[in-house]
């Protein structure tokens, strides 16, 4: 099956619209052997009638079946009603041979943010359940689900991207096609390929890039994505349809780490002391090589909370590394963290294994940032390390976490994720959003940990910490309930 994917044409805008580029793209669709084309939104620039007339006229010249969805620009000025008049349905299910394309409008009127509301989310769930047996499952949505590189401030994402990501993974969706950020990007997350086509014909590109689109070839064994830029540059990603699922040969056990966050040490009821004490017992019985605290050590960065932290942490006599959350550095926290725990960016290495910390919080803000200088320094350090296994730990999440609103993300998560995945970093550990989650992006396993002993947590599994076992041939991550010690597997991944 061969699919042409393009996005963000922004037709009609005299200032930004490059009609000649769209005509070139349409010509390529009509002269190729495509089964269908998918357009992932922003047909217009301001949702105006004359723009819709232009977009409709051009899109109607496409001679293969076309699935279209609206973007945030189409919902401007009440334009979403015109979308139905000129382009087609906002949401729906399109069945084509043994494939299904489920398409969803994620735009909010006059806002650049995205959302898949409760009713639509359930419609999507129902459609995925009903089409579970389709050989090829595709989701088309305008807003990106994973952060996109080269897009500066990581805003205007889907509010419930974490829930969507979880649903996509559980349903084994093969392809997720999006637009929004005008920068082409491809990620493989477990067995789902997330594709951003960039912009087909808007002058507003990122970092001086040119217009682009994607060609997707999918058969029983492969998913091949070719990103084509109008200057003739092509990049090809070829992914297998499924990855290894049965694990029998793990090789020798190399290292055991415990990942924890949000201990919330304080003399308030937010710190669940009994949960912490039970977790300490579990951790002792697991006898780890290292404890990695991904932030939220104290409830607030004041002296008596730090005093409490020192006392409580003495119960765990293992090597420990820390990275701060905003709450750890607020008030007197900068000084106290440094005095009691040392550097903001800590690291631990043993043999061929490196855990490198990355400090991301900003004073008095829940939003994190790395910054270009720090990111370059981090990558240089990681690339110069002679370790076979490289891991980075930080507080803020770099992929959306289920059950949480996508608001505490890093400002520059798009760039950090891309660079860590491109550098084939083995493991990234984060500790925000109070819900455990683990998945693989490219060759990089990313694991978020729930709160170990804070009254604030979001999972029905309860407060927990993660157990990370690194074997010669696999990484195994489980979540362990703080109070009861109950364990559930978050995933097993082959080591690269």
């Amino acid at each position: 099956m061969k699919i042409f994917h393009f996005s963000d044409i922004h037709a009609g805008s005299k200032k930004h619209f490059r009609e000649e580029n769209l005509l070139h793209i349409i010509d390529e669709i009509n002269s190729g052997d495509f089964d269908l084309a998918i357009f992932t939104g922003d047909a217009t620039n301001e949702g105006q009638r004359h723009e819709y007339e232009k977009a409709s006229k051009l899109l109607k010249t496409i001679e293969v079946p076309l699935v279209s969805i609206p973007g945030n620009h189409d919902a401007r000025s009440g334009g979403i009603k015109l979308f139905e008049e000129y382009i087609g349905q906002q949401n729906g299910v399109y069945e084509f041979k043994d494939a299904v394309i489920i398409y969803v409008n994620s735009a909010i009127g006059d806002s650049n943010d995205g959302r898949v509301g409760r009713v639509k989310f359930n419609m999507l769930k129902k459609a995925l359940n009903e089409h579970s047996d389709k050989a090829i499952k595709i989701l088309a949505i305008h807003h990106h689900i994973l952060p996109i590189p080269m897009s500066g401030r990581e805003r205007n994402v889907l509010a419930n991207a974490g829930d969507l990501l979880d649903l996509i993974q559980r349903s084994d969706v093969d392809l997720v096609v999006s637009g929004h950020r005008h920068y082409p990007n491809v990620y493989e997350v477990e067995n789902t390929v997330f594709i951003n086509a960039g912009t087909a014909s808007s002058e507003k590109t990122r970092y001086g890039d040119v217009n682009s689109y994607c060609i997707i070839d999918i058969d029983e064994k492969h998913k091949k994505v070719t990103t084509k830029r109008l200057n003739g540059e092509n990049s090809v990603h070829d992914f297998p349809r499924t990855s290894k699922r049965i694990f029998s040969d793990f090789g020798n056990h190399a290292f055991r780490a415990i990942q924890l966050s949000n201990t919330y040490f304080s003399d308030t009821s937010s710190f669940l002391s009994q949960h912490y004490d039970e977790a300490v017992k579990s951790i002792k019985s697991l006898d780890p090589d290292l404890l990695i605290h991904c932030g939220g050590i104290v409830k607030e960065g004041i002296p008596r909370n730090y005093d409490s932290a020192i006392g409580q942490l003495k119960k765990l006599e293992y090597p420990m590394v820390f990275t701060p959350a905003a709450r750890d550095i607020n008030y007197m926290g900068y000084h106290l963290f440094n005095r009691h725990f040392g550097d903001l960016d800590q690291n631990y290495s043993e043999g061929d294994i490196l855990f490198q910390g990355l400090s991301t919080p900003q004073y008095d803000s829940s939003i994190g940032v790395v910054g270009e200088t720090e990111r370059k320094a981090l990558l240089k350090r990681l690339n110069n390390a002679s370790c076979e296994f490289r891991s980075v730990f930080l507080h803020h999440n770099i992929i959306p976490i289920p059950h949480s609103r996508e608001k505490g993300l890093l400002e520059d998560a798009g760039d950090l994720l891309r660079e860590l995945v491109d550098a084939e970093i083995d493991l990234v550990l984060t500790g925000t959003s109070y819900h455990a989650y683990a998945t693989r992006v490219g060759k990089t396993v990313i694991a978020n940990v729930n709160s170990i002993s804070s009254a604030y947590q979001r999972s029905r599994f309860g407060n927990s910490f993660n157990l990370i076992d690194i074997y010669e041939k696999a990484i195994v991550i489980s979540e362990i309930n703080s109070f009861w010690g109950k364990r559930r597997l978050l995933g097993i991944w082959e080591r690269k």
Partner: protein, 143 residues
């Protein structure tokens, strides 16, 4: 449109949504002791037995008690001695209801999940009993 808060509906959901799609196994050359050690290490109640990359059997906690200890076998005996090789599988697209029906009919607590003829995971009656709560994990779309 699907209405919310209809727990019985969750039984019509395909099993693919509630399995980890990872299967922990040992090779057919393993001993009973090696298989038991791996089950303890991962805190799992069943383990698949592999011939090359193909699943040829399954051993559960109950088999360890009944066929290994109860029948007085040596820990050094082959795992093949106690495995069940008559595998019961359910397709990944089957509903939870169908999986439960088959488990009830066969009187088993563990069932292997297959996709296009290949075994890709396992689920247990305990996992399925936990379903309504798990379903909440993706039910909530915040606005």
């Amino acid at each position: 449109m699907n209405k919310q808060s209809q727990p019985s509906k969750s039984l019509d959901i395909p099993v693919r949504k509630f399995i980890t799609k990872r299967l922990i196994a040992v090779s057919k050359e393993s001993t009973i002791q090696e298989a038991a050690a791996r089950m303890c290490k991962f805190e799992i109640s069943s383990i698949a037995i592999l011939d090359d990359e193909k699943v040829i059997g399954i051993v559960t906690d109950k088999d360890m008690k009944k066929r290994a200890l109860g029948e007085g076998r040596s820990p050094k005996d082959s795992i093949k001695e106690i495995m069940t090789s008559d595998l019961v599988t359910v397709d990944i697209n089957s509903t939870i209801k169908d999986a439960l029906k088959l488990m009830s009919k066969k009187r088993i607590k563990h069932i292997l999940i297959s996709e296009q003829g290949n075994i890709v995971g396992i689920t247990t009656r305990n996992d399925l009993e936990d379903l309504d709560l798990q379903e909440l994990e993706t039910l909530i779309a915040r606005d």
